[in-house]
């Protein structure tokens, strides 16, 4: 796990209000276990996981395999750690922005978290997925899926309803985020190399355009 046998070190970060389940979400993802006890995160922490990422080329179905080492930052949701946690936003390439489906307030705060991200992440429009956690508690639910999807659409980010308790959608959410990052990476590298490589290929150009739309400034 700690050896250097991987192709990419990708750093993700989970953020959101206190108690939405960031730690349990990550614990579920890395160890596939669930700990129902609430232990508030002290400032920051991170977990690691090695995954294999399959690229699906735009044209070719045959994907390449990459070994990706994930560093998953877990942050404290509590306000008192705020300045500490935001300092780590810059260290992540992608963000799991979580709220609690059973807490309207945590959902409303998503907006604040978004602006925190814009201010403190490596760029203004980093890759983010919106995650409504605790989907396994339908009777306590306070946030409708429609509401959440609207929010996600507003920011043009994917939305997932997950449950760290059951594992529902947990992997999918992370993989989606990883996919976004890898695509962005592709675009950025492609873009810098197009001038050199005379023949960037038509799809490369498409990528470039997409990147421009996303205001990827690299």
């Amino acid at each position: 796990m700690t050896d250097g046998d991987y192709d990419y070190l990708i750093k993700l970060l989970a953020l959101g209000d206190s108690g939405v389940g960031k730690t349990t979400f990550l614990y579920r993802y890395t160890d596939n276990k669930f700990n129902p006890k609430f232990i508030t995160t002290v400032g920051i922490d991170f977990r690691e996981k090695r995954v294999v990422y399959n690229t699906q080329g735009p044209n070719e179905a045959s994907g390449k395999m990459f070994k990706v080492h994930l560093q998953l930052w877990d942050t404290a949701g509590q306000e008192r750690f705020r300045s500490l946690t935001t300092a780590f936003f810059r260290d992540a390439m992608g963000f799991l922005l979580m709220f609690d489906l059973t807490s309207q307030q945590s959902f409303l705060n998503v907006r604040n978290w978004m602006s925190q991200l814009q201010a403190n992440a490596y760029c203004e429009n980093p890759d983010i997925v919106l995650i409504g956690n605790k989907a396994d508690l339908p009777d306590q639910r306070e946030v409708s899926e429609r509401q959440a999807r609207e929010m996600a659409d507003k920011y043009s980010i994917p939305y997932f309803e997950t449950s760290a308790a059951t594992g529902q959608n947990v992997e999918k959410a992370v993989e989606t985020l990883l996919d976004l990052i890898m695509k962005r990476m592709e675009q950025c590298v492609e873009k810098t190399q197009v001038p050199d490589a005379v023949n960037g290929g038509s799809s490369g150009k498409l990528d470039g355009d997409k990147a421009a739309e996303k205001r990827c400034a690299c």
Binding site: Y122, M185, S203
Partner: protein, 603 residues
């Protein structure tokens, strides 16, 4: 550091936990760096056959450039690499998702480029001075030394650094240093107030870690440290992932400001010395030039570590040490002229016997700390002033920016700067920057002889004068730029007024009026040069000054050079942030930021 990281609220256990987490992160970064090193090594290996093939044109026509197997029409058709244009057989090439092929080495090169995630780190560098863990480590270690006043810090840093100070060209960043630098570095730079140097970042990758600034350090030495840090940390510290061909080798880890800061800090100390010596009228000039010699010594000192190949450039050891000694001693003389550099507490630098050059460095250091002691009150004055300035600034930036954590960081970071610049250390501030960046070349070529070289001292005043004129011109154009911005703002205000809003413009007049102060100060330095040996290096530095200034560009410099009072600085710092952000536009477009104050000032 940008946003002040206030960890004082953490309990000890919490701080301990955070510390451990951060250490884990640093370890992960180190491994990543090793991995990339290895990858680079692999890419280099591929080259011999390739050269062979690319040399003989006809060879590459018939054989794969990499395995040198002949092509066969169907079984092994040749494929041209998109990057290097050489042909390779299927076994040595990789299909690109978008069509086309890449030969193996080029493929690896691309993998490396991606794997290094330069696209990401480039952004981070452009936007922040250091990564999160580095920032936290800094704050934590500052916290571990509570009660260390600014002057204490100054004194403590040399001793702390005596040990791990890297010899010339040593790879730096071995495991041991690594652990310590986390603490050392901050120890010296701990002061939470950062004076971010907006000029130094945009674009220039080297600058990113330009942690120089924030360490801001006690008010007495902001400028020097800033200038110095620019160089070293960047190569070692944060660039590691991307390119670490400089000697660093697999051993060095990303957050290892190790060699740099230590060398820096040890040399940093002389600055305050010169400063505290300055109050004496007759010494003021000499003090200034003493500074320069130190700056020189410093660059001498730093470069080997940074380049990792000092041997090519100058005979290691002896001559270098000589250079150092020569450079350092005048400074010491200057500082000690009032107070003989007599007994120095032995405990201050326990390890100064380790290496001749270091000993010399230490020698120059001592007078520094000595004169620093009497001058202890100085920082407090400056602190107070700085506090008030900061408060003012916060008021103002509060108007222009979101109160939220977001832009606060920038505002504060740059805000700290004006406060600093008003403290009395203006003259050293400009010169060290110069000396570190440009002076290095000189110091290598002619390092040893220079300090004593009399011919240079004689011809320098004129040169210095012309340099100064150049600088004045530059500054003037900066002022113009600033003024045009002001008028732009005024235009906006007028527009707003016209639309029925009232706006209270603050301090425009003051802002302009204070500028000219810049002139007299630097002009003083050349004066004493004929009589004072130290002036030699000083003037050298001057000579190199112009290119440096030019290089930094107008847009960059405002925060750094506003000799004038706070209002101008504040303004320019603000502008700096806008320009710095431009790629990402984090601060948003001008209209947005201006809109807010208007709302606030609305009656």
């Amino acid at each position: 550091m940008g946003k002040k990281l206030d960890l004082s609220k953490l309990t000890d256990e919490e701080a301990q936990h955070v510390w451990e987490v951060v250490q884990r992160d640093l370890e992960l970064r180190r491994r990543e760096e090793e991995r990339l090193e290895e990858l680079k090594g692999r890419i280099k290996k591929g080259s011999p056959q390739r050269e062979l093939a690319s040399d003989g044109a006809h060879l590459s026509e018939t054989r794969c450039a990499h395995c040198l197997q002949p092509y066969r029409l169907l079984a092994a058709p040749r494929r041209q690499c998109l990057d290097c244009r050489l042909f390779a057989c299927p076994g040595c090439s990789h299909a690109r998702p978008g069509g086309g092929w890449l030969c193996h080495p080029c493929h690896l090169a691309r993998v490396l480029e991606r794997g290094s995630l330069e696209w990401f780190y480039g952004h981070v560098r452009a936007r922040f001075k250091r990564f999160g863990s580095a920032k936290v480590v800094r704050s934590l270690s500052a916290r571990q030394r509570p009660g260390a006043g600014p002057s204490d810090r100054v004194q403590s840093s040399p001793s702390a650094h005596g040990g791990p100070e890297p010899g010339p060209g040593d790879g730096s960043g071995d495991g041991e240093q690594r652990d310590t630098d986390g603490e050392l570095d901050p120890a010296a730079q701990a002061p939470p107030l950062s004076s971010k140097h907006p000029p130094c970042s945009p674009g220039a990758r080297g600058v990113w870690p330009c942690p120089s600034p924030d360490p801001a350090s006690p008010p007495a030495q902001p400028a020097p440290s800033r200038g110095k840090r620019l160089l070293p940390i960047h190569s070692r510290d944060f660039e590691a992932e991307a390119d670490s061909d400089d000697s660093a080798g697999p051993g060095s880890r990303p957050p290892s400001p190790s060699s740099a800061p230590e060398a820096l800090d040890s040399l940093q100390v002389p600055w305050p010395q010169a400063l505290t010596g300055e109050p004496r009228p007759e010494e003021a000039g000499a003090g200034g030039s003493g500074d320069h010699s130190h700056a020189e010594a410093q660059t001498d000192h730093l470069w080997p570590a940074r380049r990792g190949s000092p041997a090519e450039l100058c005979p290691p050891g002896a001559s270098r040490a000589a250079a150092l000694g020569a450079a350092a001693s005048p400074g010491a003389r200057v500082a000690g002229s009032g107070q003989p550099p007599a007994p120095h507490p032995a405990d201050e630098d326990p390890s100064d016997d380790e290496e001749s050059s270091r000993a010399l460095g230490a020698a120059s250091r001592r007078p520094a700390s000595e004169s620093q002691r009497p001058g202890a009150r100085e920082p407090t004055d400056a602190d107070a002033e700085e506090e008030t300035l900061k408060r003012k600034l916060e008021e103002l930036t509060g108007n222009v920016s979101d109160p939220g954590g977001s832009s606060g960081e920038e505002a504060e970071r740059e805000g700290a700067e004006p406060g600093r610049s008003t403290a009395l250390e203006r003259p050293p501030r400009t010169t060290p920057e110069v000396s570190t960046s440009v002076g290095q070349a000189h110091s290598w070529e002619e390092g040893p002889p220079r300090p004593q070289d009399p011919t240079q001292t004689t011809r320098t005043p004129n040169q210095a004068l012309s340099e100064l004129e150049g600088r004045v011109a530059l500054t003037a154009s900066e002022v113009q730029q600033a003024e045009s911005e002001v008028s732009d703002i005024e235009a906006r205000i007028a527009a707003l007024r016209a639309s029925g809003l009232t706006v209270r413009p603050w301090g425009k007049a003051r802002r302009r009026s204070k500028l000219p102060v810049l002139l007299p100060r630097p002009a003083r330095t050349p004066g004493p040069s004929p009589e004072h040996p130290p002036a030699g290096p000083a003037d050298q530095v001057k000579v190199t000054a112009a290119p440096r200034l030019l290089g930094r560009g107008l847009g960059n410099s405002p925060g750094g050079r506003g000799e004038d009072g706070q209002p101008f600085d504040r303004k320019s710092a603000y502008r700096g942030s806008l320009t710095q952000r431009s790629p990402d536009g984090r601060r948003g477009a001008a209209p947005r930021s201006f809109a807010k104050p208007v709302m606030i000032h609305q009656p």
